[in-house]
C-alpha cells in the first residue's frame, strides 16, 4: 500500500469541508444536540430518583460512546458516498488505486471526522454536565477501540451494499445504527432483553463496551475476557467487511455495474 493515494481519499473530504462549512456542521451539531438533550435528562433523573445510580455517567457516557460509534461509521460511508454522488467511480477505479488503499482512505476519513465529533461531545459533556470521562482511565482504550473498529466494519459493509445494490440503496444505510441499538444495550443491560435478542447482542461488539461501562460506573468490576472478546469480534468484523467489499467490487467489475454507474450519469 502507498500512502499518497490513501491521503488523496482523505484530502478530498478535507477540501470539501473547507469549501463548505455546511458539511462540517452535521459533524458537530447532531452530537452536540444529543449530549445536551441527554445531559439534561440525566440531570433530571438524578434529581428525582434516589437509586444511587449516577445517570450522568451511565446515560451520558452511553450516548457519547454510541454517537462516537455512529460518527465513525458515517465518516466512512460519507467518504464513499462522495464518489456515488459525484459519479466518480470510473475516475477513481480506473486509476492504479488498490482496493486496500481505497478502504484505508475511507477509514482515515472516518477516523478524522469522528474524532472531531468526539472532541465536541467531550467538551460539552465535561464542561456543562460534569461528566468525568477520564475516570474510566485505561478502559477508554478498549472501549474506543471496539467502537472504532465496529464503526469501520459497518461503514465498509454499508459501502459494499451500495456498490452492489446501486446508489438508490443509500437510504438503507442511515438506519443501520438505529436498528442495532436495541440489541447492544446502549441504555440497559443485555439481561433485560429476551433470549433471542440477547444472543444477537452477544455477537455485536459494542454490547461488551456498554456492559463494562455500566458495571464500572456502578462501582463494580468488569471482565477482561469479555472486553478482549469484544475487541476480537470487532477486528473479525473489520476483516469480514473488507473481504465482502472486495468480493462486491470484483462482482461490479465483472458484471459491468461499476462502468454502468458512470454511464447512467449521461442518460
Amino acid at each position: 500500500m502507498r500512502l499518497r493515494p490513501i491521503a488523496a481519499i482523505a484530502l478530498r473530504q478535507l477540501y470539501l469541508m473547507r469549501s463548505s462549512p455546511v458539511r462540517v456542521l452535521p459533524m458537530i451539531a447532531w452530537v452536540a444536540v444529543d449530549i445536551v438533550l441527554w445531559g439534561f435528562i440525566a440531570r433530571y433523573l438524578n434529581s428525582v430518583t434516589a437509586t444511587g445510580i449516577n445517570f450522568t455517567a451511565s446515560l451520558l457516557g452511553a450516548v457519547l460512546f454510541w454517537d462516537f460509534f455512529t460518527r465513525v461509521m458515517q465518516g466512512v460511508t460519507m467518504a464513499f458516498f462522495e464518489d456515488v454522488w459525484s459519479r466518480n467511480f470510473i475516475n477513481v477505479f480506473a486509476s492504479p488505486l488498490l482496493i486496500s488503499e481505497y478502504l484505508s482512505g475511507l477509514v482515515l476519513t472516518g477516523v478524522t471526522t469522528s474524532l472531531v465529533g468526539l472532541i465536541v461531545m467531550l467538551i460539552i459533556a465535561t464542561m456543562i454536565f460534569g461528566l468525568h470521562f477520564a475516570a474510566l482511565g485505561l478502559l477508554l482504550v478498549p472501549f474506543l477501540m471496539v467502537l472504532f473498529l465496529f464503526g469501520i466494519a459497518l461503514g465498509v459493509l454499508a459501502s459494499a451494499m451500495v456498490l452492489r445494490l446501486g446508489p438508490a440503496s443509500e437510504w438503507l444505510v442511515w438506519p443501520i445504527p438505529a436498528l442495532l441499538s436495541p440489541f447492544v444495550g446502549v441504555f440497559y443491560p443485555l439481561a433485560t432483553l429476551p433470549s433471542w435478542m440477547r444472543h444477537i447482542g452477544q455477537l455485536l461488539p459494542p454490547s461488551y463496551v456498554f456492559e463494562a461501562m455500566r458495571s464500572v460506573v456502578a462501582g463494580g468490576g468488569y471482565s477482561n475476557a469479555a472486553l478482549a472478546l469484544g475487541v476480537s469480534l470487532a477486528a473479525v468484523y473489520v476483516l469480514l467487511a473488507a473481504w465482502l467489499f472486495t468480493v462486491v467490487y470484483r462482482y461490479a467489475v465483472r458484471s459491468g455495474l461499476l462502468a454502468r454507474y458512470s454511464a447512467e450519469s449521461v442518460s
Binding site: A8, Y15, S19, I90, A94, P96, G256
Partner: protein, 250 residues
C-alpha cells in the same frame, strides 16, 4: 518488435446471449493515434472500459506496456490515463483540487510542478480555484485532458474528447493531442463520431460494429479502397450493413 502501448488480444464481453464485444484484437503503438469508430452501441466504450480495468472481459487479455491488466492491474494502470465525456471530474472540487486529488491517486512525482505546468498548458491558470461544476464544456474538457496527462501516460484513452466543444476549441485540443503523440512516448486510442476529426487526427482507424472490428486502415485511404467517397460515407454504410467476417488490412 517494441512492446506496444496497448495490446488487446481476442477480447470478448458477453452479457447473457448478447456479445457486446466479440473477439476483438488490436494494438496501439507509441506515437500512434488510433481511432475506434462505430455506431452507438457498437462496443467502443465497452472496449475502453475493459482497457481501463473497470470491466472484466469474459475472455481475452489486455496488456498495457506489456503488463497484463488482469494480473497486475495497478501496475498496468499506472501507465495509462483517460478522458471521457461520461466521466466528468467531481464538480464540487476546484480545478486545482481535482488535479491534486488525481495526481495523488496516480502517485505522480513532483506533483505541484506538474500541476502548474498542465494548468499553464491548458490555459487553466485563471480557473485554478473555480469549482469544476461551474466550468463551461470547453473548460471541463481542457481540465479532463490535463487530468489525463498528469501521470505522463504511455497509453491515453480519449472517449469522444471533443464531443461538446465548438469547432475552434476542438481544433486546439486536437492540435495538442497530435503534438503529444508526435513526441513518440504515448499511444492514443481515440473514439469520435466526427469523421473529419478522425481523418485529420488519426494514423489508423478501427471500424467496430456489433462488437466486432470490421475494417482497419489509414483513414485517408480507407474510403477509396472500399468504394466510398468519404470516411463518413464509409461509416454510414458499415453502420447500416455490417460486413460479415471481413477485416482486410488496407
Amino acid at each position: 518488435m517494441p512492446t506496444p502501448a496497448l495490446k488487446a488480444t481476442r477480447l470478448c464481453k458477453r452479457y447473457g446471449s448478447l456479445h457486446a464485444v466479440d473477439d476483438v484484437s488490436f494494438q496501439v503503438q507509441h506515437g500512434e493515434i488510433v481511432g475506434l469508430l462505430g455506431p452507438n452501441g457498437a462496443g467502443k466504450t465497452t472496449t475502453i472500459n475493459m482497457v481501463l480495468g473497470v470491466l472484466q472481459p469474459s475472455s481475452g487479455s489486455v496488456e498495457i506496456e506489456g503488463i497484463d491488466i488482469g494480473r497486475r492491474r495497478s501496475e498496468a494502470l499506472a501507465h495509462t490515463n483517460f478522458a471521457a465525456v461520461y466521466a466528468t471530474l467531481p464538480g464540487n472540487l476546484s480545478v486545482y483540487q481535482n488535479l491534486r486529488f488525481f495526481g495523488l491517486l496516480y502517485d505522480v512525482a513532483q506533483l505541484r510542478a506538474r500541476i502548474e505546468l498542465l494548468l499553464a498548458q491548458f490555459d487553466l491558470l485563471p480557473l485554478r480555484d473555480t469549482r469544476c461544476g461551474l466550468l463551461s464544456s470547453g473548460e471541463q474538457t481542457r481540465l479532463a485532458l490535463a487530468k489525463a496527462l498528469l501521470n505522463s501516460p504511455r497509453l491515453l484513452l480519449l472517449d469522444e474528447p471533443t464531443a461538446s466543444l465548438d469547432p475552434s476549441a476542438a481544433d486546439l485540443i486536437r492540435g495538442r493531442i497530435r503534438a503529444m503523440a508526435s513526441h513518440g512516448d504515448c499511444g492514443i486510442l481515440w473514439t469520435s463520431h466526427n469523421m473529419y476529426e478522425v481523418e485529420e487526427t488519426c494514423d489508423r482507424v478501427l471500424f467496430v460494429s456489433h462488437g466486432k472490428i470490421l475494417l482497419e486502415g489509414d483513414p485517408k485511404t480507407l474510403p477509396q479502397h472500399h468504394g466510398a467517397a468519404s470516411l463518413e460515407e464509409l461509416f454510414i454504410r458499415l453502420a447500416r450493413e455490417p460486413l460479415a467476417d471481413q477485416r482486410p488490412a488496407s
